[in-house]
């Protein structure tokens, strides 16, 4: 059955169409203490890597790409319909009520900001830790970050109700001589997310400059020559430029590391600084950051598992890369599970009546269904990664990544809605359920995200080629060193033997 389905799909997904047919799946996940595994498998060198990555951009898009793009673009159309609808009619078109004033918009905002975090973790934190395996995936993950933050940024803009006053969020001089209230965590969010977007964009673009120059130097059409020429700023690969560039990249990584930890901490302050039971907890910042990385890695997998197949990049984004990501998903999933349990412990240990009620109500109240979806997707699903066979299985990891995406969306739903729906006074309780506009705008954001990602695949270098070349050089050096060691050992053996 599955085989027949795959056979039917093969004209759509077959990598020959991108010219990258020679990309077999190689199991490079075996652990060996005395030699490092190859991060780039197959007989690849600088030339083949360059051809492979550039051909994605240079050749005509495949049917698979068109299908994906058009589907995503039509889902994006939902935003085109429902956002104007919302702006015209006001937030009454949403299901928000009193007491639940924060509905899907805030859930989606927190969800999308969180998705972004994996990109920055891969590009900045793994860079500082000198994790070479980041080089194959960092470009796509950073692109994902940018697009996720675009989706996130949209929601507060439309959630303010009168969207034409959204610029009031910024401290701009105005004739009323009013300024934002800097004692509110909501304005901290404006600065945190704004900075996060700007710095991520700079980091992403800067990393791309050498690769854009590669595309410029290979370009045949004048439009491409001009576009990539302008974007690559006149890069010549000069070592004097590389010297400044690398220092700048390192500094940006060092800046992005505390930034990414701060962004979801500040997002969690939106909740934690308030007095609402279930929100007013000190565990929120680390708990949100762990959850953000967890959901972000799941989204990276959701995007990269099909992309490496479609673009024939199985020897660049290898099983080792995927397995490493699965390990991070498992780790952060355990952290998130620990945070869930600690919330309950502290609610009991703290002895505050409303806090105790808030958590019992979360698990067994009117939103128990959402709570248990969250627990089973976030805590139970990743446990399958304890088994290596599952960790290195494409289908299993893709399924888990989808579960985690769903689970993390529900986590934000549970946190936002259950706490507001049932707070101190039972006379003010209500049940929140979304309306059509809520659901459609949520779907539309996914359309926006996948449309941008499809365009990125098509027009920008999908893999950080210059960084992968560095990894290839290291691989060649360590191989040469190993063979020299072997031959000297053999010589020593034969000398002692005689």
């Amino acid at each position: 059955m599955i085989k027949r389905l795959l056979a039917a799909l093969s004209p759509v997904v077959r990598p020959e169409l991108t010219g990258n047919a020679e990309s077999p799946e190689v199991d490079n996940t075996a652990y060996s203490p005395d030699s490092r595994v190859d991060l780039i498998t197959g007989a690849n060198d600088n030339t083949t890597i360059t051809d492979k990555v550039c051909s994605i951009v240079e050749q005509k898009p495949t049917i698979g790409w068109w299908g994906f793009f058009l589907l995503a673009f039509s889902v994006l159309g939902l935003l085109g319909i429902f956002v104007p609808f919302l702006i015209f009619w006001g937030v009454g078109t949403w299901g928000v009520n009193n007491p639940v004033g924060w509905g899907y918009a805030i859930v989606n905002f927190v969800f999308w900001v969180g998705i972004g975090h994996a990109g920055t973790l891969i590009s900045a934190i793994l860079f500082l830790f000198r994790q070479k395996w980041r080089t194959s995936i960092n470009r796509a993950a950073e692109a994902m970050t940018i697009f996720a933050v675009i989706c996130a940024g949209m929601f507060p803009g439309i959630h303010v109700g009168r969207a034409w006053f959204a610029y009031w969020m910024f401290p701009l001089p105005n004739q009323m001589e009013l300024w934002p209230n800097f004692r509110s965590p909501l304005i901290w969010d404006v600065f945190a997310v704004g900075t996060y977007f700007t710095v991520s964009l700079l980091f992403w673009y800067m990393g791309m400059i050498p690769d854009l120059a590669t595309l410029r130097d290979r370009a045949k059409h004048s439009v491409r020559k001009i576009a990539y020429g302008a974007l690559s700023l006149g890069w010549t690969g000069s070592n004097r430029q590389w010297h400044v560039y690398e220092r700048s990249y390192l500094l940006l990584a060092a800046l992005a590391t505390p930034l990414v930890l701060s962004v979801h901490s500040v997002v969690s302050f939106d909740f934690a600084v308030s007095q609402v039971p279930g929100w007013h907890t000190t565990i929120f910042p680390p708990y949100f950051v762990a959850g953000a990385i967890f959901s972000g890695f799941a989204m990276v997998l959701t995007l990269l598992v099909p992309a490496r197949q479609l673009f024939g990049l199985k020897d660049v984004i290898t099983l080792k890369h995927l397995e490493n990501m699965n390990k991070i998903i498992m780790l952060t999933g355990l952290l998130v599970g620990y945070a869930y349990s600690q919330e309950f412990f502290m609610a009991w240990y703290g002895g505050v009546k409303v806090e105790k009620f808030a958590f019992i109500n979360r698990a067994f109240g009117q939103y128990a269904w959402a709570y248990w979806i969250m627990v089973s997707c976030n805590v139970l699903a990743p446990q399958i990664f304890w088994f290596k066979k599952m960790r290195t299985n494409i289908w299993v990891m893709f399924a888990v990544s989808i579960f985690v995406n769903i689970g993390m969306w529900f986590e934000r739903f549970v946190i936002t809605v259950t706490s507001l729906a049932n707070d101190y006074t039972s006379s003010a309780w209500d049940y929140y359920s979304p309306k059509l506009a809520d659901v459609m705008i949520m779907l539309g954001a996914f359309g926006l995200f996948f449309t941008l990602f499809a365009l990125f695949c098509r027009f920008l270098p999908f893999i950080a080629m210059s960084e992968v070349r560095g990894v290839l050089a290291d691989q060649a050096h360590s191989r040469a060193a190993a063979s020299a060691r072997h031959s000297s050992e053999a010589a020593a053996d034969s000398a002692s033997g005689s």
Binding site: P171, T195, L202, T236
Partner: protein, 196 residues
């Protein structure tokens, strides 16, 4: 653009068609591997060349010292950016909420350090990042869309899989015959001169 072969020393000369007062501006030597480039760069440095450079498709480790490049002052630019961001962030919040339009909300102080930290921190990072990116552009002279290197077709592979040494015509030791001979000896598989 015209290219002609100088048979005696095997140097290809590329001349800009628009050039009126033709003089050599750049010599390019192509190397097959990073190891060859590294040895050649060490030699060029020791010969005392000043206006020269290596071009590589990825940052080659050890090439900085082989070329004798001194550390960049970029970190200081970033520090200035960060300092400006932090102080500016604190001053902005204090001035806006406590001086220009003081308003009392939930009995909180008009200005306090803890409540001001998140915004000041974000601005520290933001301005440092601007310093890092802007400083990189400024120190590298970006954007500069035209460079004589781009007249060479061979040089297109400098961003893919070949390694180059370039010597500028303005260098005191620039001499087509002697330099191309030296580069050949160092293992260059092609030498080109760009005139304009």
């Amino acid at each position: 653009m015209s290219a002609e072969m100088n048979s005696s020393v095997e140097v290809v000369t590329i001349t800009a068609e628009t050039a009126t007062d033709v003089k050599p501006v750049l010599m390019l030597a192509e190397f097959e591997t990073a190891d060859l480039l590294m040895e050649a760069a060490t030699r060029i440095r020791d010969e005392g060349f000043k206006l020269w450079d290596c071009h590589t498709p990825y940052p080659v480790h050890g090439l900085d010292s082989a070329m004798g490049i001194r550390p960049t002052l970029l970190p200081w630019i970033v520090l200035c950016g960060g300092f400006t961001g932090f102080c500016g962030g604190l001053l902005m919040q204090g001035w806006m909420n406590a001086v220009d339009y003081p308003f009392l909300i939930s009995g909180k102080p008009f200005f306090s350090i803890p409540a001001s930290i998140p915004v000041a921190f974000e601005l520290t990072i933001l301005l440092s990042a601007f310093g890092s990116f802007g400083g990189m552009l400024a120190l590298n002279g970006f954007p500069r869309f035209y460079r004589p290197h781009f007249r060479s077709d061979r040089f297109r592979r400098a961003t893919a899989d070949r390694f180059f040494i370039s010597i500028e015509g303005r260098d005191r030791q620039f001499d087509i015959g002697a330099n191309s001979k030296l580069l050949r000896e160092l293992g260059a598989n092609a030498v080109e001169v760009i005139e304009e």
